[in-house]
Symmetry: C2
Subunit: 220 residues, 2 copies
């Protein structure tokens, strides 16, 4: 019985890693598509999000089955409940990558990001890709030093998000209303992407150390 349960927990962990890897690919491609106005790449991110949603449903069903059949307690129970939470965060990260791709598609053949902000959004893209890659690795190897670097990059995403407002509201902004709307939404998508990764990172840290940070965001 315990062997079966351990195998199922291992499978659950592998599914989370696979889901995170797919989110990593989504946010990478969404950012490249955004920065290069690549319509086919944006379309592929939008289409692939259905696959991420399906992974969440499968993973959740597996968790509920595990709870019903194995009746886990203590740490095992925390692992299964955390997996439910983390799959919700990862699914949401996939949605946000899709939203970036949808803005890209909506503006094509123009660039959604005006030239004056391409540096800021390149930095946001780089930080989001690092965050996604480290989330996958953290789920794989439980090296909680990675959780810290995810928090650092989330702070950077928050700063870059602030930078977009400074650019929009600083008085020298001459963009169109469409550009203002796009920059506002894109900035928010990247900022939320970081928040969800931090939520996953804190849950892994909690499982490893037993201490959940008081101000941990809920897996919104």
């Amino acid at each position: 019985m315990r062997d079966i349960f351990d195998a199922e927990l291992t499978q659950l962990g592998e599914d989370l890693v696979a889901m995170s890897a797919r989110v990593e690919r989504a946010v990478t491609n969404a950012g490249v598509a955004l920065l290069t106005a690549d319509l086919p790449l944006a379309e592929s991110v939008i289409a692939d999000d259905l696959g991420i949603d399906a992974m969440e449903r499968d993973l959740d069903e597996r968790c509920v089955l595990l709870l019903a059949q194995q009746q886990p307690v203590a740490t095992d129970l925390r692992i299964v409940v955390s997996a439910l939470r983390m799959s919700a965060s990862l699914e949401r990260m996939g949605d946000l990558a899709r939203h970036v791709a949808q803005v890209t598609r909506g503006r094509y053949p123009r660039h959604a990001v005006p030239q004056s902000l391409s540096g800021t959004f390149t930095e946001m893209h780089d930080a989001a890709v690092r965050v996604a890659r480290r989330t996958t690795t953290l789920l794989e190897n439980h090296d909680i030093a990675l959780a810290e670097s995810i928090e650092t990059d989330d702070d950077l995403l928050d700063e870059l998000h602030e930078d977009t407002f400074t650019a929009l509201l600083g008085g020298s902004w001459a963009g169109t209303a469409q550009e203002t709307v796009d920059v506002t939404l894109l900035g928010r998508y990247y900022e939320r992407f970081g928040d969800h990764a931090v939520s996953v990172a804190r849950r892994v840290t909690y499982l490893v150390t037993g201490a959940l940070s008081e101000d941990a965001p809920t897996p919104a």
Copy 2:
């Protein structure tokens, strides 16, 4: 044993109702504060969100304890897992009400919503309040006809959200960049508020009827 468990399930249901009632108050006050530029009311929404967050944590701890101590299966298990999901959605709805209040506070003593869009945001506020009130009632009495009316108001919120873009991008918009940013974000907050309520409504419907809509949004 079964009696204790039933009492605990009842308590869980009451906690969800209490949490939803608090979200209802938050979104009501946030909208009134927004539409009347009422700073103290906005501040109260911001402060009260900590209480909603605390309710989520308590409710989640209770769910995990219930899973550990009562080892529920079948419908009971689904109820507890759904409660975990629904508390996450309600917490997020509280966050969104807080975000509306924060925009209000940031613009005070000016109004965040320009005169030309006050009608649209009044309608959004009314729809969000109806959605929140019906969510509370649905959690209380499980009358799934309410779930349908929540979906209808969510569709209305989506349309009103589209209306804000039409106003911003229609060519006759003469607002400042700050107004464009605020309208973009406020519209998105209300639109997401509706999505989360629909997620709660679909979970209640699923518990009552056993059928989860395929395209049900995850409790992001």
